[in-house]
């Protein structure tokens, strides 16, 4: 198997057209209630199923760093009891319907999601309204979920792959919320209280900060009536804006080395600040990043490190897909770290200095536009894409605009993006493995203990 390279950008490949799109006529609607709650639907009657989600536009970036994990706990607790259901009775009902369901947060949003047989849509909407409008946040359940989350956070430090990401994020994002995982860390999760969850819910779960997406065996008109009946009384409220990270790339290479004698491979992650998904250069940056470090068998990093030199199974780079400025990251796991690092540095340098070739750009464009129908076929994919278009403000016509934007991107735009968005030599780097400083030749590096 090749390392999967279905990258975050794939979600961007898909847009959806409004029903009046000149290019595509997709059964998509976007409507809203008087209280600001937006309803987005995509009809697909192939199967008697419905994917239903309520998204709150507030995620982990709205919580204070010392209480990192609050948004995630708040979302998870929505399924742990309401004024009408205990956690047990809620799970019993959903399980008996054969539904699948989940609730969690990401940095940029919180989400409750159901997959149901369409005959159960009414019950699903009842439950959705109840858990969002009437959560009970029972204390015993809170202790349970918090402990589960704390255990998961401890486990993350046990896995070398997640450990390098944890360390890299801490170095890169400093005091910003992005420096810790969405679900918080071992130091922050115990600090979260029930009052924090109540406050997060009261502040952010207001209709003008939320939207509902339904995909599948539905009728948009009837669905709007059903949603209105359950959510029209939900009162809007003010919503704060998140703070972007006020950070700059380092002036030189800074390396944190963690020596682990029990490992037979070195895990490396390095990079610097990236872009926001709302950046005007988004598409050139993503095309450039795909050429540089997308598919491990044909990207420049993949060819140099894996295909030609056999140094690693997986090597890649990408720009985080976040509303605020995320990271540019490059990763590799190898038993020959020095050569792998040199090759990766060289390829990123080359991209920053001389850019891509016309042939590479054309291939990347073909991939971006050609893979559109693939992300479009399953309801679960439609749901994910509709959520991101609404969340990132791309609009429902992104489907028609995106391929055009890709096709019209010029080589000069790609090369400008490479020059302006890559900072060769000015990386933060985490190295984890059975290796010491004197075994690495990184002459300009500043070492961090």
């Amino acid at each position: 198997m090749k390392p999967s390279h279905h990258p975050p950008l794939l979600l961007l490949l898909l847009g959806v057209a409004t029903a009046v799109s000149p290019l595509f006529s997709l059964p998509v609607t976007r409507d809203s209630l008087n209280n600001g709650l937006i309803i987005i639907t995509f009809e697909d009657h192939r199967l008697p199923i419905v994917d239903l989600a309520l998204i709150c536009r507030s995620g982990a970036v709205f919580e204070p760093l010392p209480k990192a994990g609050t948004a995630s706990l708040c979302a998870q607790m929505l399924l742990r009891g309401t004024k009408n259901f205990t956690a047990d009775s809620l799970a019993a009902l959903l399980d008996f319907l054969g539904a699948s369901y989940s609730a969690d947060a990401d940095f940029d949003h919180s989400l409750v999601q159901f997959r149901l047989l369409s005959k159960d849509l009414g019950t699903g909407l009842d439950i959705l309204a109840d858990i969002v409008l009437n959560p009970a946040f029972p204390e015993p359940e809170f202790r349970l979920v918090r402990e589960e989350q704390l255990t998961a956070a401890r486990r993350a430090w046990d896995n070398p792959g997640s450990l390098v990401t944890l360390e890299f994020d801490r170095m890169l994002f400093g005091d910003h919320r992005y420096s810790l995982p969405v679900r918080g860390d071992t130091g922050t999760i115990p600090q979260i209280t029930l009052a924090d969850l109540h406050q997060f819910h009261a502040t952010h779960f207001v209709p003008n900060n939320c939207f509902i997406v339904a995909v599948g065996d539905i009728s948009p008109g009837a669905l709007k009536e059903e949603i209105t009946r359950r959510f029209a009384g939900w009162q809007p409220g003010p919503v704060p804006a998140p703070e972007p990270p006020a950070l700059k790339p380092p002036e030189k290479l800074r390396v944190k080395l963690i020596t682990r004698p029990d490992m037979n491979q070195t895990y490396i992650q390095f990079g610097h600040l990236g872009i926001s998904v709302r950046d005007p250069d988004l598409i050139p940056v993503r095309l450039m990043s795909y050429i540089l470090g997308g598919p491990p068998l044909s990207s420049r990093l993949g060819l140099a490190v894996r295909e030609y030199a056999g140094l690693a199974y997986d090597v890649r780079c990408w720009f985080d897909r976040r509303l605020l400025t995320g990271a540019f990251r490059a990763t590799v796991q190898t038993s020959k770290p020095q050569i792998a690092i040199e090759k990766m540095f060289a390829e990123i340098d080359r991209m920053a200095q001389t850019g891509a070739t016309p042939r590479e750009l054309q291939k990347a464009k073909n991939y971006f536009t050609g893979s559109f129908p693939l992300t479009y076929s399953a309801n679960s994919g439609k749901l994910d894409q509709l959520i991101s278009f609404e969340l990132y403000g791309y609009g429902m016509d992104w489907f028609t605009r995106f391929p055009v934007l890709v096709r019209t991107t010029t080589l000069e735009q790609i090369n400008t993006a490479a020059r302006n968005r890559l900072f060769p030599g000015r990386y933060l780097m985490v190295i984890l493995g059975n290796i010491t400083r004197d075994q690495l030749n990184l002459p300009d590096a500043e070492w961090i203990e």
Binding site: D95, F96, G98, S100, D262, N264, N366, L374, S377
Partner: protein, 434 residues
């Protein structure tokens, strides 16, 4: 029973799956199965070979996986990188993977390009060449992939657990191969193993926006000239002796949270009770209302998570109990409570409500799986490869529907016996006293 019948009736009336499937066989033995779903202009092309770690003799563990890597490189007309370059240029997703019973390749691709996927897969099937010059770097890539297993504590537990769970059956070998076997691969070994990858030992499944006539034409065009050579797969079904006693392994690694993994051998598909394993596993450890989640997480508070599943594709497999204990010292109590719950399953019938819940989840889940043409293609291909008929997963659903509390009790009595238990623990390293 009424609700489950209504779900099956709902599915059948909505869109009987059989009406969308067609199948035929080429003269060279290639089995071709089509699944029609014209709702989006996309096609999933899948070629599965009846070869995997199951077939590998001692000294050659991992060779199927090594060959899978090499099969992305040279053929008589394509050079390394061409597969990905050509497929990427039309926006296709493609990959290959090696498993116990099969090696699979797929391309999810826009309708207008699915002929390209067939063309490339036909080249991979009959015309791979394995030049010496291509072998060394890919061998190193696979060695690095092998090392990834060594550095993930949970992978170490998993690999060791399987190795003690099976004394004789090839399930004991990791798909990626044992380190020494991987280190000693040669290009000659890869070339010799390539005999398995021929039309008579493969299934082609094409799902999506297709017509039967064009599938027949295209399959014949690209695969018709390849020579088929049936391969007799050795039958290890009855290979594993009945366990003589409980087996345990304790692994200490740099971890902060312990993991407890318990297994019991469960019957393969030739046993009339094989389908009961999945229902039993769900009752025991799937979701908040499962018995062990309630016992270990909600009631006793000894663990933070519980997951139970039954893994049977063809030969006898294992029912796995994956537990996250709150601390190492609680593990004896957890084991005691699990044993107690299993004993209860042997003496008391499960309730109608919990059985109905599991049946509803199973049937609804099978409807959800059809959302994705890649998913349905996977189900068809793996069922065909492992059981000889793609319909077996439909039969399995019917069997699940008919499962009775008495059958579950009988299953538990037969298979949950102390001497058949395998226990694995991944525990934090002990710190030396200063």
């Amino acid at each position: 029973m009424n609700i489950i019948l209504s779900l099956l009736t709902l599915l059948a009336s909505f869109d009987p799956l059989e009406s969308r499937v067609f199948e035929f066989r080429l003269r060279n033995g290639l089995q071709v199965i089509g699944y029609i779903d014209t709702s989006a202009p996309v096609v999933s092309v899948n070629v599965y070979y009846r070869v995997g770690s199951y077939d590998e003799p001692p000294g050659l563990t991992g060779i199927s996986h090594m060959l899978e890597h090499m099969s992305f490189k040279h053929t008589d007309i394509y050079k390394p990188g061409d597969f990905d370059r050509m497929l990427d240029s039309v926006g296709a997703f493609n990959n290959g993977f090696t498993s116990t019973y099969y090696t699979g390749y797929y391309e999810d691709i826009a309708r207008e390009h699915w002929g390209l996927a067939l063309k490339l897969e036909a080249a991979r099937m009959g015309r791979c060449i394995f030049p010496d010059s291509e072998f060394e770097s890919e061998h190193q890539v696979v060695a690095e992939e092998r090392r990834l297993q060594d550095n993930r504590p949970s992978s170490v537990l998993w690999e060791n657990f399987e190795a003690i769970a099976w004394l004789a059956h090839p399930h004991r070998n990791p798909t990626i191969g044992w380190p020494d076997d991987v280190a000693n691969f040669t290009v000659e070994k890869v070339r010799a193993w390539y005999q398995h990858y021929n039309p008579a030992n493969a299934v082609l499944v094409i799902a999506g926006d297709i017509r039967p006539d064009e599938v027949k034409t295209m399959a014949q065009k690209y695969f018709g000239r390849l020579k088929g050579r049936p391969i007799n797969r050795y039958d290890y079904y009855y290979f594993e002796p009945e366990p003589a006693g409980e087996r345990r392994i304790i692994i200490r690694k740099r971890v902060s949270v312990p993991t407890l993994l318990i297994g019991y051998p469960t019957p393969g598909i030739r046993d009339s009770l094989y389908f009961v394993g999945d229902v039993t596993a769900r009752i025991l450890g799937s979701g908040r209302n499962s018995r062990l989640y309630r016992t270990l997480v909600l009631d006793s508070g000894l663990a933070t998570s519980v997951s139970v599943w039954n893994s049977v594709e063809k030969d006898p497999g294992l029912m796995y109990f994956w537990i996250s204990p709150k601390s190492e010292t609680l593990i004896p109590r957890i084991e005691h409570l699990i044993t107690r719950e299993l004993e209860r399953m042997k003496t008391e019938l499960v309730t109608g409500l919990e059985l109905q819940r599991v049946k509803n989840q199973t049937i609804a889940g099978s409807i959800f799986e059809r959302d994705d043409i890649s998913g349905i293609a996977y189900l068809i291909a793996t069922a065909q490869i492992t059981t000889g008929s793609w319909r077996s997963f439909l039969d399995w659903m019917q069997q699940v529907e008919k499962t009775t509390p008495e059958q579950i009790q009988q299953f538990c009595q037969k298979y949950f016996q102390d001497h058949r238990r395998i226990v694995g623990m991944l525990l934090p390293e002990k710190r030396e006293a200063k």
